[in-house]
């Protein structure tokens, strides 16, 4: 029963990773770039929510509703001043520029707040503590279920947006071939801006869940980025639903790893990620050949 419970908790954890990874996956799908500051943007979102909660005493969920437009605007700004330039300059430039940005965000947060950890758990109401005991070894937490439901809604909503709306079609067309899309009158710059804005908005949602589930500090971002990227790769780069599956696989790997040894939780996720890379890129065959 502990294994079943571990898998269940892993699915809940994985849904959280999927939300973190969603924006990363969207930006890669549309622009073919990986934003190395994605984790820091999620943490920044958590801080914005934290500030609103501190000043108004509102619930973390209400604060998120206020923070969301702020983060979306930030997404547009990010696109305009950093990403747009870097997109034209080759494949390494977006990585270098967003890595620099990541360091800037982390240290601005250090300056604005302190290195201390914060949490949004206290301001999220009873959802953080409520749970249902299914059987003796199996419990379903309200928070886990909430994150899972929200993750499915976010991925489903994004899928609907991409397949049913005009703006979504334009986004898919640009993702397929930006130049061809330009020829039929789609402004790729506007499309990229929207994609980044959506990605940063969903990152803020990831920040909300991060803050409610556990604690965060100014340097929490890189770890979130690694987990998000692992979810994207495990699920298959460029596939949106794949990212949800990848997030869940990562979460389950981590909770199962923790069953063996608490310190092996993160390790198990890393190993799954590396194994997927090896299988996908034929490194396995190469390894076998070099041994044989």
């Amino acid at each position: 029963m502990t294994i079943v419970n571990a898998v269940l908790q892993g699915i809940f954890l994985g849904a959280f990773y999927a939300v973190l990874a969603c924006g990363l996956s969207l930006m890669f799908g549309v622009m073919r770039i990986i934003n190395l500051a994605h984790g820091d943007l999620a943490v920044l979102g958590a801080y914005v929510i934290f500030v609103i909660v501190e000043h108004t005493g509102a619930s973390a969920f209400v604060a998120f509703a206020v923070a969301l437009p702020v983060m979306i605007v930030l997404g547009y700004v990010l696109q305009a001043i950093v990403l747009e330039r870097s997109l034209k300059a080759g494949i390494l430039t977006p990585l270098l520029a967003t890595f620099g940005l990541s360091i800037v965000i982390q240290n601005l947060l250090q300056l604005g707040f302190s290195p201390d950890v914060h949490s949004l758990g206290g301001s999220a109401g009873s959802v953080t503590t409520a749970s249902w005991q299914v059987t003796s070894g199996l419990s379903v937490s309200a928070l886990g279920l909430l994150v899972l439901v929200v993750a499915v809604i976010v991925f489903g909503g994004l899928q609907l947006f991409l397949s049913k709306t005009r703006v979504g079609w334009m986004m898919r067309a640009t993702a397929e071939d930006a130049d061809a899309a330009e020829l039929v009158g789609i402004d790729s710059r506007a499309v990229y801006s929207r994609a980044t804005a959506i990605a940063v908005g969903i990152a803020a949602l990831g920040g909300l869940f991060l803050g409610i589930r556990s604690v965060f500090d100014p340097v929490s971002g890189p770890t979130q980025l690694i987990f998000a990227f692992e979810a994207v790769v495990i699920g298959g780069m460029g596939s949106l639903w794949g990212t949800l599956v990848g997030g869940v696989a990562l979460g389950v790997a981590q909770t199962l790893g923790a069953q063996i040894h608490p310190q092996l939780a993160v390790m198990a996720g890393h190993l799954l990620f590396l194994a997927v890379l090896i299988v996908r890129f034929g490194g396995g065959r190469l390894l076998l050949r070099s041994m044989g």
Binding site: I34, L95, F99, G100, V104, L108, L277, L287
Partner: protein
Amino acid sequence: MKVERWTRTSKLFTGGSGGLVILLACVPLIFEPDVVQKLTTLLILVLLAVMWNALAGYGGLLSVGQQAFIGIGAYGTVFFSGLGISPYPAMLLATLLAGAVSLPISLFALRLRAAQFAIGMWVIAEVISIIIRLDQNLGAGTGISLTQLNQYEPNFRQAYTFWLALAFTVVFLAALFLLLRSPLGASLQAIRDDEDAARSLGVRVAARKRLLFVLAGLGCGAAGVLIVANTLFIEPGSIFSVQWSAYMIFMVLVGGLGTFEGPILGAILLFAIQTTFTQGGPWYLVGLGATAALFALVLPRGVWGTVEERLGLRLMPVGYRVVEKKRDA
């Protein structure tokens, strides 16, 4: 028209750098140990910058995980010293260990492109860091001291470590210099300029990249060795920190990605900044991050790359240049 490799400036400078090495070798005989320690730090930065540039500047491989090899070098030194091998030979072994580990990693890491390679290397560094944390004999998460170096009197120890740092720096710089001047080097620079075009001309891109990857593994391992020799204490949180990658990226981007001299200039700049802002602190890191991003976006060839382009100046002759032959009057 004729093609030349050596110019007057580059002859002067290459000769001058030989003289500089001899001067540097005398530093421990003249200066106080704290100066020697500072200069050791500078040499470590030079080594790191040059090795990261070998990967990114010539191989097009942007790694955010070179701290894996820094950590292996540092922990390897502690491990081999613990076996009873005397510290300095242990340091050489640890450097070789980092190179040896880089070979199997290269088999699969080099198949990855761009972000996959960058973050894949980062995850590999994390995995190695977790393995170290699980090993009680290596101090687990709390760190470990290199006590074996205490057998030397501090002034001598500092001098030995400095000479080792100088030797490593010279060896790795010379190796890269000779590599770039060899026929292999022409293919490396071709890969840097256009990987697909180079491949279509028959350059064995994968083999060339592996060479750079292992060289960078050795070099970063050597830097890790020097870090533990210079500070005598390491812990996984800082030696495997992604901050090292941040420093490397800063030095190379500011100095000049894909140039021989640029990363050295970048290392000197970072060293000057570090000694000026001794407090360190968040503002200093905000500045580093912002500067790196700005250079990537606005001045991708860095300070040295731009100087080279504008003035046609070459201090180290790693390429060829075409000069108009003067007509006889």
